[in-house]
Amino acid sequence: MAAFLHRRAGVRLSLLLSAPLAWLGLAYLGALAALFLTAFYGTDTFTGELIRTFTWANFQDLVTTEVYRTIALRSLGVALAVTAIDLVVAFPMAFAMAKLASPRSRRWLVIAVLTPLWASYLVKAYAWRVMLSSGGLLGWGFGVTATILTLAYLWLPYMILPIYAGLERLPDSLLEAAGDLGARASRVFRTIVWPLAFPAVVAGSIFTFSLSLGDYIAVKIVGGRSQLIGNVVYDNIGAANNLPFAAAVATVPVLIMLVYLAAVRRTGALENL
């Protein structure tokens, strides 16, 4: 058996790939394909049954109704803002953890960053609601800004960890070499640290970006009167039972993410998650 497998690299590879590909390639991609297929169906609004006849109607609605564009752009803006804030906050933290902290304290810092992941997402969002409400710790009120802040807070660890890992892998000797060649700290950062940590940054941004793009709960808690694309999807499936239209709306974040993934694929970020 073992000797047989030894001589058949192809068989070994197929065995290894079979389960993951069946699961993700067939089941998951299949489910996605089926979902987007229904985007071309209609629905009986009274009984909620699908009407399986091909129609562009859902996409026509999506494209021609201005409000969906507004919401899509707002969601994109929120996701970008969250990513930018997380990057600005996470990078110095990750840098201090990876390059300034002693190896002993590093372990504790990683724990400190990981711990909040276990406190429920909802509870943390509500804690922000409490802090943002008038008379609260911050008292800044609710709205898009509050949503951005809350989401940035929720996803911050997902940005810190990849950047930390990326910076830790960066040999100190490269930074020393740059200093040795006459570069000051800011320049070392610009020419060495940033380009080499960039794939890790992109990896972190995949998390913050996609998690923000798909969120519909935090915005309900701190968003005031605003809504995001996730709410539209959710309302259509959850409240209106209109799966075809929900699927059509869902293509928007999916397309955005696919474009994003395609763009960052070459940076090697996908191996840094």
């Binding site: 969906y68 008038s134 008379g135 005031g224 539209v232 239209f245």
Partner: protein
């Protein structure tokens, strides 16, 4: 006059149960959170265990978050009974998912308020499809320290020049369009709205426009009651729609609030326990229906969930002697001003023919557009 209840469409022919035999040992329920409590959330809140002990029917519950989830869950055929709201019940009936209920097999039914029997959302052509569970109205709440004088009209939340701009709140759901329709019924009679859930193009557009205008003064939309109580307590919201239970809790937390059923009337809800057409445990289901509207259990649910009980005798069983009074349980005049939530469908619910009304999918899209 047509028979009470919905008319105009013919549900599939399904026979009601003729007699209740011994229980099957278990029953599977689909319910709103708080309707089926077995002490797991709070040991003091438990009306399932006594039922299980008395009937030998073990209760399995699936909590549904929305009416649509209820419809979908019931369609799987795994469940015996459901606590459907008015915006789900008709769909269940029309699809043949639930069967008519033989109310003579449910002794407690006799004590149910007449104002809840044979209503458009729980019966068709005089045939009952379930037993009423409880009811409540969507009231107008305000903070007494900031909102003066005390409002008695919805105009306070629709007036674009409201002094409370940015602190007005509204319920975050497409069904809230009906609240605007109720207001329009009173303020713009020439639109001819008879039923806030049956809106033709023009009427619908008017309601939507009103809400878009309202959005300018909204601070936030609320969807859960912790959020609303907190907003009123902190002063982030000072006026807006509410439920009686929210008013009570907020007052309990010493928030300076009051609530009223405004003069234009209001929307509200009334839930119905229904039995699946293909129920695997029909006997236990009937026993559950009888139990949940029996005075004691009905009182417990009403108090825990914060609504008016459906059983008149429940008012003697409440822990808080004034519960029925607070929730206007016996006040039929009060509830006559309430338009219970019903699913808007293309076929106008007010009996009009020749026009199509906006269905719920379009309400949903409009709601998205209103929020922008």
């Amino acid at each position: 006059a047509p028979a009470p209840g919905r008319s105009g469409f013919a549900p599939p022919k399904i026979d009601a149960l003729q007699s209740v035999g011994t229980g099957e040992g278990q029953v599977n329920l689909v319910a709103w959170a708080g309707y089926v409590e077995d002490g797991s959330t709070d040991p003091k809140v438990d009306w399932v265990t006594p039922f299980e002990q008395a009937t030998g029917c073990q209760v399995n519950t699936k909590i549904a978050g929305t009416s649509d989830e209820m419809v979908n869950l019931m369609r799987t055929g795994e469940y015996d009974a459901v606590s459907a709201s008015g915006d789900a019940s008709l769909r269940l009936i029309a699809a043949g998912t639930v069967a008519p209920v033989n109310t003579s097999l449910i002794p407690s039914y006799t004590d149910v308020f007449d104002g809840l029997k044979s209503k458009p959302w729980n019966s068709v052509n005089g045939v009952a499809y379930g037993v009423p569970h409880g009811r409540g109205a969507n009231l107008l709440m305000w903070r007494t320290d900031t909102v003066k004088p005390a409002p008695d009209s919805w105009s306070v939340v629709f007036d674009p020049a409201s002094p409370y701009k940015g602190k007005v709140t509204a319920y975050d759901s497409p069904i809230y369009i009906a609240d605007a329709a109720v207001y329009l019924m009173a303020t713009k009679p020439d639109l001819g709205i008879k039923n806030p859930y049956a809106l033709d193009d023009k009427q619908f557009q008017a309601a939507v426009d009103l809400l878009k205008q309202q959005k300018q003064i909204i601070g936030e939309y609320w969807s859960d009651y912790t959020k609303e109580i907190q907003a009123f307590k902190s002063g982030d919201s000072v006026v807006g729609t509410t439920w009686q239970v929210i008013v009570n809790v907020a007052k309990g937390e010493k928030a300076p609030v009051e609530a009223v059923l405004p003069k234009e009337g209001a929307t509200g809800w009334s839930d119905t326990w229904m039995v699946a057409a293909k129920a695997a445990h029909p006997n236990c289901a009937y026993k559950w229906l009888d139990h949940i509207i029996s005075p004691k259990a009905n009182a417990q649910v009403a108090e825990y969930f914060g609504e008016a009980p459906s059983n008149a005798k429940a008012c003697q069983e409440t822990a808080d002697a004034k519960h029925c009074e607070t929730f206007h349980a016996t006040d039929e005049a009060y509830f006559s001003k309430v338009h219970y939530w019903t699913t808007p469908i293309a076929q106008c619910l007010d009996g009009r023919t020749g026009v199509t009304c906006k269905d719920y999918a379009e309400w949903t899209r409009a709601w998205t557009e209103i929020k922008g």
